[in-house]
Amino acid sequence: MLRRVVITGMGGLTALGHDWTVIRGNLHNRRSGVKYMEEWSGFKDINTRLAAPVAAFDLPSQYNRKTMRSMGPVAILSTRATELALENAGLLGAPILTSGSTGIAYGACAGSAEPVIAFGHMAKTGSLHGVTSNTYMQMMSHTGAVNISLFFGITGRIIPSSSACTSGSQAIGFAYETIKFGKQVVMIAGGAEELSLGPSAVFDTLFAASTRNDAPGTTPRPFDRDRDGLVVGEGAATLILEELEHARQRGATIYAEIVGFGCNADGSHMTQPNTSAIAKVMQLALEDAALSSQAIGYVNAHATGTKLGDVAESVATHEVLGSRMPISSLKSYFGHTLGACGSLEAWLTIEMMRDNWFAPTMNLDNLDPECAELDYLTGNGRNFEVEYVMSNNFAFGGINTTLIFRRWGS
């Protein structure tokens, strides 16, 4: 028997605040999290100086030497975001977490960057200086997932979903399927990204990073004619997924239901987006949800602000959902949070659906004529009520994901 899967907790750490009330205020005021990175000025070969770092956050006393020794920044972000989500779900300290019925699906582009330097030093010099018992634990790709497990005593299955920019969305999708097929009752799902120069340098090399260094608030510009690339962001977001009957029995607040997930690969190019594969993934999710395209009321776009990506996505969205489709991109506020964006955007899309207000794409002043016809939200955003929302994400290697969420209580 297939189970229904609902979201009963959401939380995160972002460039624009760490709870929906604060973030909503910043979205309404069209505040950007993008900053000029003074500390990057020494890296002469890199053109971009822009990033959207996470806003300062406090760690409670349970974050001590022993609980944090295996954590680099990305694991700290993952763990704290999860704690906020579990608290929101009313599940902090609940027996279900340690019972084996709760699992974790979590990812990031990679583990922490700092330990890589120690191993690089070793490879070059033969010296183990700087390598400790935890250096590898902080560097490994599933560092976030297993640090969450240790911190909260989670004993169910662990699904590392480190797939660059679909890490967070795959985590939610795989967690949804895990509960749907009865393998777990609760799943902690999300993604995180710590800020380091590496990813910015990668996009810089591909000429896909924005270099509007003297005007941080005006970039990235998803779908805009004058966009010049993406800005790397930092953050983490966790959703708590729960089997519907379990959530009902404990009287949990239900924020939304996950009704569809699609995941595919284009099998054709490492970095170039593929319109037909993107269209296909949206269709897969619609089929999974047993919905027609007409049912979808809003699309949260991946739209990072690159020339190729935005066009391919808009054409695919138009092909599947038609020109009437309201669409916006949150990356104009938070930058591209890579491993975190899938879960961060899922969280905020659900919050916007609950608020009946959808944020506009900031900096979208003149639509790129190559982008397909869609109902691009600009200005002050828009108030409207929808039954279903879709969130799309795409990653290097040609991975595509689509998630569909249903309003709860309607």
């Binding site: 030497r65 022993k66 020794r69 183990l128 200086h129 400790t132 018992s133």
Partner: protein, 83 residues
């Protein structure tokens, strides 16, 4: 380095590396039961001692270590080897 210097260095290292209360660090203090250090911490302690002394600690030397005093004995041994 005499015995007292070694103990002081060891104590400072334990306090700094593992955020321990200096008053708890006595020669009799047991690493696991009294100071709440585990096998992962022991590895990092060995790495730190190697860094400070510039000498290699063999796994055999550290196997029987239970107390702060035992650690001191190991340091004295490795320091004496190349005296």
């Amino acid at each position: 380095m005499d015995k007292q210097d070694i103990f002081k260095t060891l104590k400072d290292t334990l306090v700094e590396q593992f955020e321990l209360d200096p008053a708890k660090i006595t020669p009799e203090a047991r690493l696991s039961e009294d100071l709440d250090l585990d096998s992962i911490d022991a590895v990092d302690l060995v790495l730190k001692l190697q860094e400070i002394t510039g000498r290699k600690v063999s796994p055999e030397q550290f196997r029987e270590v239970r107390t702060v005093g035992d650690v001191q004995t190991v340091i004295e041994q490795i320091m004496a080897v190349n005296k």
